[in-house]
């Protein structure tokens, strides 16, 4: 009975959101510009919900609470890196948009193709983004399963439920494109806001009297949890600083963010968004508080189970309809960003790999059809990947993803500040960065507490600068 109530609410909300988004579209997209970048017509508000919609995922919902629960202060990096990402975006995105608008670019790799004139580089970047996105979608599916398993109260096949929900969202993107995702984000953002205010303020107040009293109790029971370990310790201060910088720089490097950037109506829309988006980070503060409250109320979770932390509290102490609403918010937080990610991955593969690389589907209609088919393919791939899922927490998977995707940032920034950068030097930089990341992650070598992605970024920039020297310069002087 409990499961029935909760499941009905989730199903109702997901179906309602999809219908709302479909009805909000004036017409279905019919060409790649409309489908992938919304016809470059989004104003400040729609872009705000779209960006917030794809950045604040089920990771926001479960992973951040899980890290607060499991580690404490290291989770605060999430609050910091997004904000740094927005500041960098204030300068970078309008510049990228200007090029994209003039040259009618469709995807992130198109930008590299346009600036560096190398098809091979653009294809390589497209493949890298594609490879990084599939696990990222998988991450959302794991998050969704965590939610659906809890609201099943042990009696429902969560794998089947996840598959049904995901197929629904794949078909939705197939039909509606980026504008559909933006409208679905409106519902998602409102519901998530409600859920985190409940979880981060109402729960601590009901159990401890006030959020401040909750921190008092937390400091008594876990005195070292609310500050970072010093220096080079695992998840210590060095890790914190390098992780914030690395993930902040990589913040906008995935194809979905590029599509969102291109969809802006003007440069100033992007600047206003960079200015306003940090306010959305307040949601993260509430999520941390939910995680801390869960630690005091329901201690004893370990490993990947920490991602369930505050949902278990809701399940145990609140009626099924509350559980249903919170779970619905979480489900949308997994599904709506997935729709943007699927679209981003399908876009880079159709345009840069199939179109530019192999000469397939280069007409407008052909490209449109290829993108739609690829949405289905990427969806199927993600489901397959998810079926062989490993036991990592959501944040750990997210950090792995950032390690790779951030390596694209130096090449993109160099396009504006380093005129002598070439396709070769950008490619060499990316290769060096990835090599360092793969080595450090695979060997698990402790590297003075420095985040592997940050070390990769340093190598990347060094190689980029080194190889960007014009070869004849020493002879000329």
């Amino acid at each position: 009975m409990n499961a029935l109530v909760a499941f009905s609410i989730v199903a109702l909300v997901v179906v309602g959101t999809i219908l709302f988004a479909l009805f909000s579209l004036r017409r279905f997209p019919s060409d790649p510009q409309q489908y992938l970048v919304g016809g470059r017509s989004f104003g400040t508000i729609l872009l705000w919900v779209l960006l917030a919609g794809e950045i604040y995922t089920s990771f926001t919902f479960l992973g951040a609470a899980g890290w607060a629960y499991g580690y404490g202060a290291p989770a605060f990096y999430i609050l910091a890196y997004g904000t740094c990402g927005y500041v960098i975006g204030y300068f970078l995105l309008p510049a990228v948009w200007r090029v994209a608008n003039e040259r009618r670019l469709l995807t992130g790799p198109d930008f590299f193709l346009d600036r560096y004139g190398s098809r091979a580089l653009a294809i390589g970047i497209a493949l890298l983004q594609f490879a990084a996105l599939v696990p990222y979608v998988t991450l959302q599916l794991s998050g969704l399963q965590t939610i659906l398993r809890i609201i099943g109260y042990g009696g429902v096949d969560s794998t089947l439920a996840v598959t049904i929900a995901f197929v629904a969202i794949v078909l939705f993107v197939f039909t509606a494109g980026l504008r559909g995702t933006a409208w679905a984000s409106v519902v998602k953002d409102l519901l998530v806001l409600g859920a985190v205010v409940f979880a981060g303020i109402v729960i601590p107040t009901q159990f401890f009297g006030s959020p401040a009293a909750m921190f008092d109790q937390l400091l008594r029971t876990h005195p070292s949890m609310l500050s970072l370990a010093p220096g080079t310790a695992p998840r210590g201060t060095v890790w914190f600083v390098t992780t914030v910088l690395m993930t902040g720089i990589g913040f906008y490097m995935n194809p979905a963010s590029m599509n969102a950037t291109y969809s802006a109506r003007s440069e100033n829309v992007l600047r206003r968004n960079a200015m306003l988006l940090p306010l959305y980070q307040l949601v993260m503060l509430l999520v941390f508080m939910a995680g801390f409250a869960a630690l005091l109320i329901a201690p004893g979770l370990h490993g990947a189970a920490v991602d369930q932390s505050f949902l278990l509290v809701v399940q145990r102490y609140y009626p099924p309809w509350v559980m249903g609403v919170v779970a619905a918010a979480g489900a949308l937080a997994a599904l709506v960003p997935s729709s943007a990610l699927l679209l981003g991955a399908a876009g880079v593969f159709a345009k840069n790999v199939l179109g530019d690389g192999l000469g397939i589907a280069t007409s407008e209609r052909g490209r449109m059809r290829a993108m739609r088919v690829l949405v289905l393919v990427v969806g199927a791939l993600s489901l397959a990947f998810w079926a062989i899922e490993r036991d990592k927490t959501i944040v750990e998977l997210l950090l792995l993803y950032y390690n790779g995707i951030t390596q694209l940032a130096p090449g993109m920034i160099a396009a504006f500040v380093l005129p002598r950068a070439t396709a070769g030097s950008v490619a060499a930089g990316i290769a060096a960065g990835l090599a360092v990341v793969v080595y450090l992650v695979l060997t698990g070598a402790p590297f003075f507490g420095i985040n592997p992605g940050f070390a990769g970024l340093v190598a990347n920039v060094a190689v980029l600068l080194l190889f960007s020297r014009p070869s004849g310069s020493s002879a000329a002087t």
């Binding site: 202060a73 605060f76 609050l79 910091a80 890196y81 904000t83 740094c84 927005y86 500041v87 960098i88 204030y90 300068f91 006030s210 959020p211 401040a212 009293a213 921190f215 008092d216 400091l219 005195p223 609310l226 500050s227 970072l228 010093p230 201060t237 060095v238 914190f240 600083v241 914030v244 910088l245 902040g248 100033n268 600047r271 960079a274 200015m275 306003l276 940090p278 306010l279 980070q281 307040l282 503060l285 941390f288």
Partner: protein, 61 residues
Amino acid sequence: MRSWRVAVAAIPVCALSVAVPFVNRVEPRVLGLPFLLFWILLWVLLTPPCLWLVGRLERRW
């Protein structure tokens, strides 16, 4: 002019990254929050005014 606006934008970034080891403490508590969390929250909230100021310096609005 250009260096000014980059400097203004760099303030929150530095406060949220390289400054963190220096504010890595629980006391004093502010608004019930441990100091580190309060510091990070403070700079998250100050980022919009900083970027607004950058926009003014650039004469964007």
